[in-house]
């Protein structure tokens, strides 16, 4: 039932060199990256607006609570039913699952933005884009990196479920295939391959980004 790590080495190497491991890794990675980018962009914009505009926050807050508590599986099934068993539905399901988390985190961060720095930017007539880039985003840095790191961890798990239920490629699809064949080593090979890729992304991109945006604190 639980093969030893050495027993996984041979099927891993076979799938990597002669099998479709890289193709399926690529498909899942593409879905994760696209979903992550869309969820972070939309969730950040929504969270910033809700955190700085009480009227909008009051109106949207019940919807945020609904989507936060809606099980991922329900959203995935509904997206496939309404949009169809296609790529758009798969990405939409993942993005809709993640947006509420990002928006909630960013909203809390936006509520703590410094009113003094806003006053300074108002007096000196800073334009909107420089203000967002140089005044707002650095204050939101810890929140955004937190949302990004938790986001990527959640998104790839949802992507696997989406692939498991309704796609014909990707790590989730392969896990579904080997689940039906009751092939535990191959399930583990595909699962661990993607976990390794996620650890690599964390080490190569997310952690350095976090270090860069918080460099001034350590100076």
């Amino acid at each position: 039932m639980l093969p030893s790590p050495l027993a996984l080495a041979e099927p891993f190497w076979r799938e990597l060199t002669d099998g479709p491991l890289l193709f399926h890794l690529g498909m899942t990675t593409w879905r994760v990256v696209l979903s992550f980018a869309l969820a972070m962009a939309i969730g950040t914009a929504l969270g910033l607006m809700m955190g700085t505009r009480p009227g909008l926050d009051k109106w949207l807050d019940p919807w945020l609570v609904v989507f936060l508590n809606l099980p991922a599986l329900v959203l995935i099934v509904l997206c496939y039913l309404w949009i169809g068993l296609n790529e758009t539905a798969a990405i939409a399901a993942v993005v809709l699952n993640k947006i509420p988390n990002v928006a909630t985190l960013v909203r809390e961060g936006a509520r703590t933005l410094s009113p003094d720095l806003k006053a300074m930017a108002t007096v000196y007539r800073m334009r909107r884009i420089p203000y967002l880039r140089h005044v707002v985003l650095p204050q939101m840095g810890p929140v955004l990196t937190g949302a990004a790191r938790s986001g990527i961890a959640v998104i790839w798990k949802i992507v696997l479920v989406v692939e498991f239920l309704g796609r014909s490629n990707g790590i989730g699809f392969q896990i579904h295939l080997y689940f039906q064949l009751f092939d535990v080593p191959m399930v583990l090979v595909y699962a661990f391959s993607f976990i390794a890729l996620m650890l690599l992304i964390e080490a190569l991109f997310l952690q350095p980004s976090e270090r860069r945006v918080t460099a001034w604190r350590r100076a």
Partner: protein, 213 residues
């Protein structure tokens, strides 16, 4: 020149300011004195356009600068970036020249958090004057500084005011600051607060409409 005509400013049911009217011309510095909590900072926020919720009219020039009670710098950007990011047209050479003028040229590339409070206040002053403001608002700009540093800052501010000649509005509790920088003084008092002459007890018999030293 600025022309302020505030009929009233309320926070909910609390009336803060009523019938506050004054003008400040280019090269003048008006000091506004008054007890804590009377509404001095509220008045400055209205004049600067930070708070637009009031009855009345304020005519102000396009180029403003504000020296806040706290330095209010961008802690994640270097000292020189704090000037360049706020003033879009400012060249690096001009920013550096202003840092030289305010005595912190050697701090150009360090973060504000690595500077002393006095140096941060110099940087806030450099940021204010770097844009050649037509209206300069100073809200207790030397608070929390020791006497020697405050003296140096007063000299520096007086020199910069003389060179740039903005219409300046200064809020302070410190007689020495008002005496040194202001060409006129008014007292904000009452509930709701309005402007009037400064009582003799504050200035020690000094003539309030004196010229800047």
């Amino acid at each position: 020149m600025i022309r302020v005509g505030i009929k009233r400013k309320d926070f909910g049911t609390l009336k803060v300011l009523e019938d506050v009217r004054f003008e400040v011309r280019e090269g003048e510095c008006l000091a506004i004195l008054g007890p804590s909590g009377v509404g001095k900072s509220t008045l400055l926020r209205l004049v600067a356009g930070i708070d637009k919720d009031f009855e009345g009219n304020i005519e102000r020039p396009e180029r403003l600068a504000f020296v806040f009670q706290e330095p209010t710098l961008l802690p994640w950007r270097s000292a020189i970036d704090n000037l360049l990011l706020v003033h879009e047209g400012l060249t690096r050479d001009a920013a550096l020249a202003m840092l030289v003028r305010t005595g912190i040229a050697d701090k150009a590339d360090v973060y504000p958090g690595q500077m002393s409070l006095g140096q941060q206040r110099r940087l806030a002053l450099a940021r204010a004057f770097a844009g050649q403001p037509e209206l300069l608002i100073l809200d207790e700009p030397f608070v929390s500084l020791d006497d020697a540093t405050a003296d140096q800052m007063l000299d520096l501010t007086a020199d910069l005011l003389r060179d740039v000649r903005p219409a300046a509005l200064l809020v302070t509790h410190d007689k020495r600051e008002a005496d040194r920088l202001a060409t006129r003084m008014l007292q904000l008092s009452g509930k709701p607060a309005s402007l009037g002459p400064v009582p003799q007890s504050f200035s020690g018999g000094r003539t309030y409409h004196s010229g800047r030293k």
